[in-house]
């Protein structure tokens, strides 16, 4: 079985799952909290909806004693990707998945195929997020534009220096960075599943999101997706640094997973 056949098998089995559709109501709930902003504000664009989903929160003042209200919509969208991709690798290490592994002939190829599948799966998931944002935008009379409306971001984040961004900048921080961060965390979770229990892998990666919300530092995996903290809005996270961290995490996960999987005892895999 060559690599392409293996990869197409992964795509076929991995992407035809109902859970992508089950996540759509969650995205809708995350979008719904933006409706009160849209109500009194004309000219809201599709990118504003996307910005709302991936904005995250302003850096909390640590030690002030003030309540920290976590952005549940952001965590649901980012954490949902982890949840959707959580069991694909372990499912393929059990039952009929083992037959495929034996026939494919190369453990490295098998794991790399899973890594590529992870990128595609995150892409499909991300497309679902963008689609729901587009539906909300059109349903509320918004414009399908790739630029932002600073007033909308100011309403949600009054302490941030919001400003109009070009389409390229919007695509960078609204689409590219959240997608890369999502894919990197998901890949890290998949690799961690080889080292520990899946629930611990999930806790570690969604914990990274929580830590990145709590501390204002660009090097923490997860902070790349918090677009309100990027330097384009006067924050401390440089898009270049975030891209570097995400790519390093993606590559590191693939290498660590490949090395680990070469010596993995597949017979001890538990369902």
């Amino acid at each position: 079985m060559n690599f392409l056949k293996l990869f197409s098998h992964d795509l076929r089995c991995g992407l035809r799952r109902k859970r992508y559709l089950l996540m759509l109501p969650i995205f809708a709930l995350a979008c719904a909290s933006f409706l009160r902003v849209v109500k009194g504000m004309p000219g809201i664009t599709w990118m504003d909806w996307v910005f709302h989903l991936f904005a995250g929160m302003e850096p909390p003042v640590i030690g002030s004693g003030e309540a920290i209200v976590l952005p549940l919509g952001f965590l649901a969208v980012m954490g949902g990707a982890l949840l959707v991709n959580l069991d694909f690798l372990i499912a393929d290490l059990t039952a009929s998945g083992q037959q495929v592994l034996i026939r494919c002939g190369s453990r490295r190829g098998w794991f790399l195929s899973k890594c590529l599948w992870n990128l595609v799966s995150c892409g499909v998931y991300f497309a679902g997020v963008l689609l729901v944002a587009a539906v909300f935008c059109l349903a509320t009379g918004g414009e399908a534009a790739l630029t932002n409306t600073p007033a909308a971001q100011y309403w949600e984040f009054p302490f941030t220096q919001v400003r109009p961004l070009s389409a390229g900048q919007c695509l960078l921080i609204g689409i590219a960075l959240p997608y890369l961060t999502m894919a990197a965390l998901s890949a890290a979770q998949m690799t961690l599943c080889l080292f520990c229990k899946p629930v611990l892998a999930f806790l570690s990666c969604s914990g990274a999101l929580l830590v990145s919300l709590y501390f204002d530092a660009g090097w923490i995996p997860g902070s790349g997706a918090i677009l309100i903290r990027t330097s384009l809005f006067g924050g401390s996270v440089e898009p270049g640094t975030a891209i570097f961290v995400d790519l390093a995490l993606l590559l590191g996960s693939a290498i660590a997973g490949t090395i680990r999987f070469r010596k993995q005892n597949i017979l001890s895999a538990e369902e």
Partner: protein, 284 residues
């Protein structure tokens, strides 16, 4: 019955996942304690400086930081992680066991000897107690260790305490804060227990244990998102989200009746659907 209960309890408290859950809880508590020790050191230094500069104005009383920096009250990273992930801690110790029993065939062995109802009662008790022990135990551990490093004093309204007047057990907070904290440790135990038993409600539907463990967390998360939407429409709605109701000083108003009625609702969900899953539903 008592033999099965003993056996279930032994299994619930002597497995790796229980230790893992306990370690995760203690890790969150340790993060909170570490951050608190820095806060206390900073505040003590500042108080001593004021004392040196203006001894006449210093009343001689320290702010009761313990009752402001405790895990269920404060917003340190550890406390935030605990507030966010406690349903997973509750389900992790033994919530997955029913699915495992079914898959391995242990269930059939037990129910042929003692019946489904007795099995359910023993399983429910074990899941309840192990989940409660981890969540309540973490809260109690954090309180006791924090008491070693934080100044203890009865909170005064002048200290701008985080507990709002009229919220659950708030009268205790201003008169007997230790009792307040212990009562919330008890509540955390109950929350941990009823949340753990929600795993029985999901039965054998998921293929993997991990989704059984994550089920209560996901349910509470979606519940919380729905509650947020309701709050936009009804501004004076009290806190009805179980994910946040475990906190002693949440951001929203949490009257006692809301805490207990949501807890009873969750307990009913866990026990009624769990009973149906365990005793009536066939394994597929």
């Amino acid at each position: 019955m008592s033999g099965t209960l003993k056996s279930e309890l032994w299994k619930a408290f002597h497995n790796k996942m229980f230790l893992l859950a306990l370690a995760a809880g203690l890790l969150m508590s340790a993060a909170n304690i570490l951050q608190n020790s820095a806060t206390v050191a900073e505040m003590t230094e500042s108080t001593l400086r004021h004392l040196q500069q203006d001894p006449e104005r210093f009343s001689g009383e320290f702010v009761g930081l313990l009752f402001m920096l405790w895990l269920l009250i404060y917003f340190s990273l550890g406390a935030l992680a605990f507030d966010f992930y406690w349903p997973i801690l509750a389900a992790l110790p033994y919530g997955w066991s029913y699915l495992k029993d079914r898959r391995s065939g242990v269930y059939d062995q037990i129910v042929t000897r003692m019946g489904k109802k007795a099995y359910f009662r023993a399983k429910y008790a074990a899941v309840f107690l192990s989940g409660g022990a981890v969540v309540g135990g973490t809260a109690l551990f954090d309180l006791l260790v924090n008491a070693l490093i934080c100044p203890v004093a009865t909170p005064s309204i002048m200290d701008l305490p985080p507990v709002a007047n009229g919220s659950c057990l708030s009268a205790l907070y201003f008169h007997a804060p230790w009792l307040f904290c212990l009562a919330f440790c008890g509540l955390a135990f109950l929350w941990g227990g009823v949340t753990g038993t929600l795993c029985l409600a999901v039965g054998t539907l998921p293929r993997f244990q991990v989704f059984v463990i994550l089920f209560p967390y996901l349910l509470y998360y979606v519940w919380n998102m729905l509650y947020d939407q309701l709050r936009v429409r009804f501004e004076h709605l009290p806190l009805l989200s179980p994910l946040l109701l475990i906190q002693a000083a949440p951001d929203y108003f949490n009257p006692g009746w809301a805490v207990f009625s949501v807890m009873v609702l969750v307990a009913l969900l866990g026990s009624v659907i769990g009973y149906w899953q365990v005793t009536r539903r066939e394994f597929c």
